[in-house]
């Protein structure tokens, strides 16, 4: 199979360069080149990210100074902040859309969409994705889905406001809250499109990784980024269709009077006709995607961190096979732990026991990964580039956030912290901040590959250090708020005098959040400036071994001007020495994957 695939690719390379008349539209807009599509994903994701972060600042201000009037509220929210005081409905809308945008549009599409597109063909040695056309279609469906989500912010009754999980009946009944009207319909349409683009993209990634690897690139010579992106695509294909079914059934309940998720409802003085459905069924369907989703978010970050860490430590990643095994174990376990979001949902408590067991199991591969990263740093020659700093930061937040998962995954302990700020702190550290760090690491590291220019390192350092301090400043104290019993999604906590002494923590967290948000402007400035005025990149600025750095700096459709290089070794021959303690290639501490094994050189047991 792979032989025929190769033959096909070679054919393509032969006629390459002859009839390529690219117009502005085919090159920049409806491009089928994976590198351009990856940039489209990245920039769209970053714009959505800016919107999501801005929303978080608005509701953090409301939490720190409840009911206070701010001109900025009135300016941005208009009629939803009469006199500059945020309305309770719009507060819920903001947290809902913040969650949706950050989880799906930024950390799913913006992260794995960008880097799957960029790295899969380049690192496996392929001319492009298996289907460039489908790839283009998937981006444009994503774009459409973003547009619809943004349009929903401007409808009369406001956007969806039932939380990012949109549990029915709240999300199903327009009379339950204004956000469950038109805003919710648009949310569902947008998500349905999002799922379609995710499936098209994922299938493309899987086929490409399986069939289009260059000669010599066996699965066990793949960089860990590719393993992570490949497995991410697989779990996406397994779980996203289930969300689609949940969304479709919810649409039917909302618009066609079915009762999949609804039963026995009396609201605003009248009994509704719904009978026999169950909201718990929706929770099962939602979290069957929802939990794998957090691994869809974090696995690409883990893969990139592994790669960037090895490159900058000038050492092979420690335990390559264990890293792959743990990615596979996490992927498998991620599909059978969804019930830990539902311990107290009314689900049978025996199921709760089973899900506790599987959930705590997932800590094992996660621990292996963390220890392997730490050992990769040990006795290295660490080049502390911004990408490397974000990688180290990612390991730090992944550990801090992951550890509290031991509490939340335990059905007993979950009882009292379920849906409190403890959960919010946990998942922001372990998947939000960690995945964002992974994304930043990837951007700093592969910016030269994407734009042919370097990002400014000093701005990168400032960006990292302020962000690192502020993210802990926001989310570390937040655990205490949760353990004090403060529920999430409360517009203000003043209705409970027992929470009055938490106001100063709220102010502290909001201050850190505001500084962190403004720090991202440094990144935005650096990104845009470097795109046009950054220092021209060399072909292999980080002295890395993997294939993407053998392509020319100037992008060409087809990636390599001549034949696709053949691969002779794995991607982690950094600082490898012969028996005399000399580098394999004298004076150079890395051996590119394209270099054949030397006489007597041993290929390690990977």
């Amino acid at each position: 199979m792979s032989v025929t695939a190769h033959a096909h690719v070679e054919d393509h390379s032969d006629d390459h360069g002859h009839h390529h008349k690219e117009t502005f539209v085919t090159k920049y807009i409806f491009s089928q080149d994976h590198k351009m599509i990856s940039k489209q994903y990245l920039i769209t994701g970053l714009i959505m990210g800016a919107i999501g972060i801005m929303m978080s600042i608005l509701f953090r201000m409301q939490l720190a100074w409840p009911g206070e009037s701010f001109p900025v509220f009135e300016a941005i929210l208009g009629k939803w902040a009469p006199g500059g005081v945020m309305d309770a409905d719009v507060y819920l809308a903001l947290v809902t859309i913040h969650g949706t945008i950050m989880v799906f549009f930024v950390l799913t599409a913006g992260l794995s969409g960008t880097f799957s597109n960029l790295l899969i063909p380049l690192q496996i040695g392929a001319r492009d994705m298996a289907s460039g056309f489908l790839n283009m279609v998937s981006y444009w469906i994503f774009f459409l889905s973003c547009v619809i989500m943004l349009i929903s912010l401007f409808v009369e009754s406001g956007p969806a406001a039932a939380g990012w999980t949109v549990y029915p009946p709240l999300s199903a009944l327009p009379m339950a809250q204004p956000g469950s009207g038109m805003g919710m319909t648009l949310w569902l349409v947008s998500m349905a499109l999002f799922i379609a683009q995710s499936l098209l993209g994922s299938l493309n990634y899987i086929v490409t990784v399986l069939n289009l690897r260059t000669k010599g690139m066996s699965m066990t010579r793949l960089p860990l980024t590719i393993w992570a992106l490949f497995v991410t695509a697989v779990i996406g294909v397994i779980s996203f269709p289930v969300l689609l079914s949940a969304a479709l059934l919810l649409i039917m309940d909302r618009s066609f009077g079915t009762s999949f998720f609804l039963s026995d409802i009396f609201i605003q003085g009248e009994v509704l006709h719904f009978q026999g459905g169950s909201p718990v069924l929706y929770e099962h369907l939602f979290w069957f995607l929802g939990h794998p989703e957090v691994y869809i978010v974090i696995l690409p970050a883990m893969g990139m961190v592994s790669e960037i860490m090895a490159v900058n430590a000038r050492k092979p990643i420690f335990g390559y096979r264990a890293m792959i095994a743990s990615i596979l174990a996490i992927a498998f376990l991620s599909t059978i732990v969804w019930g830990h979001h539902m311990f107290i949902s009314g689900m049978n408590p025996f199921l709760g026991s089973v899900f506790t067991f599987t959930t705590l199991l997932i800590a094992i591969p996660s621990a292996v990964k963390a220890f392997n990263w730490i050992t990769t740093l040990w006795k290295g020659n660490l080049q502390l580039n911004p990408g490397m700093l974000f990688s180290i930061g990612m390991v730090s937040t992944f550990i801090s956030g992951g550890l509290t998962g031991i509490i939340l995954g335990d059905s007993t302990l979950d009882i009292n912290v379920h849906d409190t700020y403890f959960v919010v702190a946990h998942f922001h550290l372990v998947m939000g901040i960690s995945a964002l760090y992974g994304m930043f690491a990837g951007i700093y590291h592969w910016f030269p590959k994407m734009f042919g220019r370097m990002m400014n390192k000093n701005l990168g350092y400032v960006h990292f250090w302020i962000t690192a301090v502020c993210s802990y400043g926001v989310f570390f104290p937040m655990h205490f708020v949760g353990m004090a019993g403060v529920p999430r999604r409360y517009y203000e906590n003043t209705a409970f005098p027992m929470f009055d002494d938490l106001t100063d923590i709220q102010v502290l967290m909001t201050m850190f959040a505001i500084v962190a948000a403004f720090t991202q402007l440094i990144f935005a400035f650096n990104f845009i400036r470097s795109m046009f005025y950054g220092k021209k990149a060399e072909q292999n600025p980080w002295n890395a071994t993997s294939l993407e750095w053998t392509t020319p700096v100037e992008h060409i459709h087809g990636n390599w001007p001549g034949a696709i290089p053949e691969v002779h070794r794995w991607a982690y021959d950094y600082s490898k020495t012969d028996e005399n303690g000399e580098y394999i290639i004298p004076g150079q501490d890395f051996v590119a994957q394209t270099v054949p094994l030397k006489d007597g050189e041993e290929e390690l047991q990977h």
Binding site: P279, V280, I374, T519
Partner: protein, 352 residues
Amino acid sequence: MTPFLTIVVLVLVAIAIWQMTKIFELSQIKANNTEVASETDNKYNGYLMFAFLIFLYGITIFSFWKYSKVLLPEAASEHGGGYDSLMALSFVIIFIVQTLTQFLLHYFAFKYRGEKGKKALFYADNDRLEFIWTIIPVIVLAGLILWGLYAWTNIMDINEEDDPLTIELYAQQFNWTARYAGDDNVLGDANVRMIDIENANILGLDQADPNAADDIIVKELHLPVGRKVNFKMRSQDVLHSAYMPHFRAQMNCVPGMITQFSFTPTITTAEMRQNPDVVDKVKRINRIRAEQAANGVENKDPWEFDYVLLCNKICGKSHYNMQMKIIVETEEEYNKWIASQKTFGSSMASAQ
């Protein structure tokens, strides 16, 4: 206005930092800048890594020192003690692992920062090490899982032993209602289709069901100390969650089904008000409230400690204010209170 000013100041600080880096950058423009970390960058960032480790420990210590007092007081239910011990053990494990791993991570980042001529160690594998750090989490987690599951099975085993009191918690946007099962301790049948607001049948009780006649519907939850309570939860509109943090108890209320939770309260409200932690907390909060009242904020009367039932599942606009007071009292006080309440049967009769 103050917050707005603070934000302005923060923005200015951010701009200042940005400008400073720009100056820093311009001042060394000719230094052959490749935008790849130089020896100096490695050095400074290595030291910053170490400083960051200290910051991490610092913020941990600071938070514990400053914020431990905001945490919930001792558990006021029978299973709550075990819950708190398991939580404490988990935290001990978490902090040992956190302190060690963060130390190794940041210390290595500092210690092995890049230098010219340094040779990294080609170290790709070590089965024994990997086995060790697979097996240690396995053992520790096995212990936690076993303890957790044992506790969970006990908490979730809701039965009729020890003569429990049966109470229904009824949720709707945006308030709670409680229904006591009355003398027969059996709740009458109910369904939202039988709700008759005009005739004060707000919970939809089946008037034909003889078990319903002695049910007592109230807006305040009174519990006798030391007696097991079986809660049956119902919701009439959207999902809600009955969260009683002081009792380490929570269960969602789901329209269309009856969920349940059970616990035995062990500390009366009066006793809890004497608890030193609670006394401190009340004092602290009343100081804050007095300050706010002096600044003209409304509804800032002095607070007296009470157990509360909160809604902990997003349910709409006033989700943040959906609460009910819980009073744990002695058997005699409880009996006196319940005897003074009207039964469903008598209130129906008087309505007609």
